[in-house]
């Protein structure tokens, strides 16, 4: 544990862990907050995208002449207007960013690969004219057979999406025959055969889950102005404006210095706003017309052309001794990447069994292309599906052995220092605490009613760190501005403010947080991976400490003493001079700074490591109506190791939001395709996310085992609450109806069918 964390532990904070006013709250309850589509520029054009009516087809010809001839149409672009890029070459990193693929996903070139694939775009003087023009674009297609299921798609005779994609297994190209299977990744330790030989009980089961959309309420929206000097200014709703800038520059063969991106207020993302869709298209249209162009996707387009997370087919096998000791575990998962490779296979490998101390482990994940939209990240990408399968078999094991499900997990809990199958070792963490807290909760001791069942699951997530840039400035009135490069998606401005105020020992209201644009700050990676409070928060602490150092120097100068004799306490420089205690407040120092030393600022640019693991345990009660198959969650408890809850209200909000997303995933959300692989439910009416009347209050238990690698012990909290949620809900349904349910979502027809099959 580093000295900082040691110092902080057990102390009372002034602001951390308290309820503080939400910085962005006032603008959001009054309608003043400006999101992507709320920006208007003079002389602006409106862009619309033409999308493929087919799931899989060759594009033979695109004729845009009639559309161009329509009055009010100023430009039309197709895939030919987006530069081509060579395919990414092996060795492939865990996350492959392939501009060959991205350019084709933005606007199709040779083929359309899913129903809704973008084919062309129009900029016109009104939205109505742009829509009209789309109907005038003539596209000749040669329709091909589609494939949707990942295992079917990986067969040698399956319809082939890319004739230049070959399979890699363990980093080696295994065949010269093109395949929809992009790669299989494997992690193993010990001797699986030996482990299963030691077992008294071996359980094995297959599972599946469906792709689900992130479901953010604000659609993607971008406004772009290309200037005469080749520069581009963009306002967009995104989880990472530096990332969007780099993607657009690369895709369009531009210098990154020519593109300035400002992040608007963001209306949800959950991983779905990490990518580019309309942004490069809007740049092209603005460059062609010399006018600002706005492109806002419709909800239907979001379902057809953005997200979702991967669907999965999986198999888990676990062996254990009679006393519950797990001797071996094997997990295999097939992820459907959608039209282009990029399933979160690496995360799957480590999610399966990382909470448990198992000597012999093998995990395998496959990344397969199918005729669906290219997957995007969704809150703990790759993890909930693997957790659903692994925890399902762990719950089966508890039943088989007649053990309490939490006791079984406590017995096998991985100790600190445990090396997971994918490599990372567990640092200090709250695994035992979250299990014990749930076990000791009133919820766990409560009785169930008729037709009710209780489910439990445990989830693991290894948080992200990475690149963050922060600039802080002392203003002449003694307030401090703190600018970060991370869009505020879950309250990060408020949490940055709390950490800065804590360091400085001043009121939170004296900190002015903001999100800087790409021209003002150094590179900052996405607001994703639960990294922002950890990594960017760390940079905030660094930047503010620099200001404190400079203020100590200023005070030393004023008092004419050595800087080492000046300390910083509760918003004041303090020193003992000639036997008398002298104090200068931040306000007094700020007033003297300009004339004596000039403006005072601090900045920090870091590549933060050591975010560490987090464990989340979830307990849920559901009631299943045996006549309709409808499941109603009745009680839900989330226990999460937050490391340190900077803003507990927001930590609870993340836990509750993640839990309810998991309820939707487990019970209802799915895409329906017809025989031709055309999406049948691209709307919020037919893609049914949970509403207020579907769910109960979500009880929260925040555990704090500080992360030794962060100045305040932060771990990050956004993602872990979703990881075990589908598993916990599914387990509750199984216990309510007394049947194994392996295929998500557990929608009423599926449950009813399972119940009726027993009659």
């Amino acid at each position: 544990m580093n000295e900082d964390s040691k110092k902080r532990l057990g102390t009372n904070y002034q602001w951390i862990g308290k309820s503080t006013p939400r910085y962005d709250g006032m603008d959001k309850v009054t309608g003043r907050a400006r999101y992507g589509d709320d920006m208007v520029l003079p002389n602006m054009l409106h862009a619309k995208i033409l999308r493929s009516p087919h799931a899989h087809a060759k594009i033979l010809k695109i004729d845009t002449s009639k559309a161009m001839a329509l009055k009010g149409v100023k430009a039309v672009v197709t895939g030919a207007d987006i530069p081509d890029h060579p395919p990414a070459k092996p060795p492939y990193p865990p996350i492959v960013v392939d501009y060959h693929d991205i350019s084709r996903n933005v606007l199709a070139k040779e083929k359309v690969l899913y129903h809704g694939h973008a084919v062309a775009a129009v900029a016109a003087t009104s939205e109505a004219i742009a829509k009209e023009a789309l109907k005038l674009i003539e596209v000749d297609y040669d329709v091909l057979k589609p494939v949707l299921d990942p295992i079917e798609a990986a067969q040698p005779d399956a319809p082939l999406l890319h004739d230049d994609q070959f399979t890699y297994i363990g980093g080696e190209e295994v065949s010269k025959k093109p395949s929809n299977l992009f790669r299989s990744v494997v992690k193993e330790k010990g001797d699986l055969e030996k482990g299963f030989a030691e077992a008294d009980v071996i359980l094995e089961r297959e599972f599946s889950s469906q792709p689900v959309h992130q479901g953010y309420i604000e659609p993607q929206a971008t406004i772009v102005m290309a200037n005469e000097d080749d520069g581009v200014e963009m306002w967009t709703t995104t989880q990472g404006h530096f990332v969007i800038r780099n993607y657009c520059a690369k895709l369009l063969n531009m210098d990154i210095s020519k593109i300035k991106v400002t992040a608007s207020e963001i209306g949800g993302g959950f991983g779905g706003k990490n990518n580019v869709y309309g942004e490069p298209v809007a740049i092209r249209l603005s460059q062609m017309t010399g006018r600002p162009v706005r492109i806002t996707l419709t909800r239907k387009e979001l379902f057809l052309g953005t997200g979702p997370t991967v669907g999965s087919r999986s198999r888990v096998k676990i062996g254990a001794k009679k006393d519950g000791t797990i001797t071996a575990a094997e997990g295999e998962i097939w992820y459907q990447a959608g039209a282009f490779k990029g399933s979160p296979v690496g995360r799957a490998l480590n999610t399966f069994f990382s909470p448990y101390n198992i000597e012999h482990v093998k995990t395998v994940a496959h990344d397969v292309c199918v005729n669906r939209p290219k997957v995007a990240a969704y809150r703990a990408p790759g993890a909930p599906m693997a957790c659903f399968a692994a925890e399902g078999v762990i719950n089966d094991l508890a039943k088989e052995l007649g053990m309490d499900p939490i006791d079984l997990r406590l017995k096998n809990a991985a100790p600190e220092g445990y090396e997971t199958v994918a490599g990372p070792k567990h640092g200090p963490n709250g695994l035992i605490e979250v299990l014990e807290q749930v076990k000791n909760s009133d919820h766990y001791k409560s009785k169930l009613k008729e037709n009710q069942g209780r489910g439990f699951a445990l989830g693991y997530w290894l948080h992200g760190g990475g690149l963050s840039s922060v600039a802080a400035h002392l203003l002449a009135d003694g307030t401090v501005s703190v600018a970060t490069g991370n869009p505020d998606i879950g309250g990060s401005r408020s949490s940055m403010r709390v950490m800065a105020a804590e360091e400085l020992g001043i009121d939170v209201e004296q900190i002015i947080p903001s999100v800087g644009d790409t021209a003002t700050l150094g590179y900052s990676h996405l607001t994703a991976g639960s990294r922002t409070t950890f990594a960017t928060g760390w940079a905030v602490v660094n930047a503010v400490r620099e200001i404190i150092e400079k203020m100590r120097g200023l005070a030393a100068k004023i008092w004419e003493i050595d800087v080492d004799d000046v300390t910083w306490e509760a918003g004041h420089a303090v020193a003992t001079k000639s036997g008398k205690v002298e104090r200068l407040s931040i306000k007094q120092l700020a007033a003297k700074a300009m004339p004596m030393v000039g403006p005072i600022a601090g900045h920090s640019e870091i590549n933060a490591g050591g975010a560490g693991p987090a464990f989340c345990a979830e307990l849920v009660d559901v009631e299943v109506d045996p006549e309709t198959g409808f499941t109603s969650p009745k009680r839900f408890t989330v226990a999460l190791d937050a490391g340190r809850a900077i803003s507990p209200d927001y930590v609870e909000g993340q836990m509750q939001g993640g839990a309810v997303q998991g309820i939707g995933w487990a019970l209802n959300e799915e895409y329906f395709y017809d025989d031709e692989a055309k999406l049948q439910n691209p709307s919020f009416l037919d893609y049914r996310m949970p509403v207020a009347s579907d769910v109960p209050m979500i009880d929260t238990i925040i555990v704090e085992v500080p992360n030794p690698n962060h100045p305040y012990g932060v771990r990050g909290v956004g993602e872990p609450p979703l990881v075990p949620a589908p598993a916990a809900v599914a387990n509750a349904v199984e216990n309510a109806i007394g049947l194994s349910m392996s295929d998500l979502p557990l929608s009423p027809p599926k449950i009813l069918k399972a119940i009726e099959a027993t009659k």
């Binding site: 006032m26 959001k28 009054t30 208007v40 109505a128 998606i489 879950g490 309250g491 927001y650 909000g653």
Partner: protein
């Protein structure tokens, strides 16, 4: 295309605007009147983000035509506070941390306001069903429901 000339009362002010027949109230508010606090989440009446109050009823602004508004009274999020003091619902949403990204918040506030006007003392279940036409993907609804119940309590105590 000829445009309709409409006079309506919007947030207490008599407001004139013109619109095409196909333009929805949502479109009119956002593009003709620049009242962008009313959000477009789906444009098909499924998410509630554009909920405004027309003649005392909460409606999805995307399902009402601008041309229907002659003589109507429209309340949007921009008119909920009096400019100095927040409406109790707005204040309780802040107190209870009942928002994250905030894009659904204007719709929830208007729907909750209309709900409490009809039913000043709702149960938790009544609040949940009253807000069931509004989607929030961030909060899991817990803190929103608590904020509305707390606001109702305060509004009853203050007779407002």
């Amino acid at each position: 295309m000829a445009r309709h000339h409409i006079t309506a009362t919007i947030n207490g002010d008599e407001t004139e605007f013109s619109c095409h027949t196909h333009q929805t109230l949502l479109d009119v508010l956002r593009t003709e009147l620049n009242l962008t606090g009313t959000k477009n989440g789906c444009d098909t009446g499924d998410c509630g983000a554009c909920t405004v109050i027309v003649n005392g009823c909460a409606v999805n602004a995307c399902l009402v035509l601008g041309a229907e508004l002659e003589g109507a009274t429209v309340e949007t999020i921009e008119g909920m506070s009096d400019g100095k003091k927040l409406h109790p619902l707005q204040q309780k949403f802040l107190d209870h941390a009942a928002l994250q990204c905030g894009v659904c918040t204007p719709g929830f506030l208007n729907m909750a306001k209309a709900l409490l006007e009809k039913n000043p003392d709702p149960t938790e279940t009544e609040v949940r069903y009253g807000l069931a036409g509004n989607l929030c993907r961030c909060t899991g609804y817990d803190k929103i429901v608590r904020a509305v119940l707390d606001a109702a309590k305060e509004m009853r105590a203050n007779g407002s």
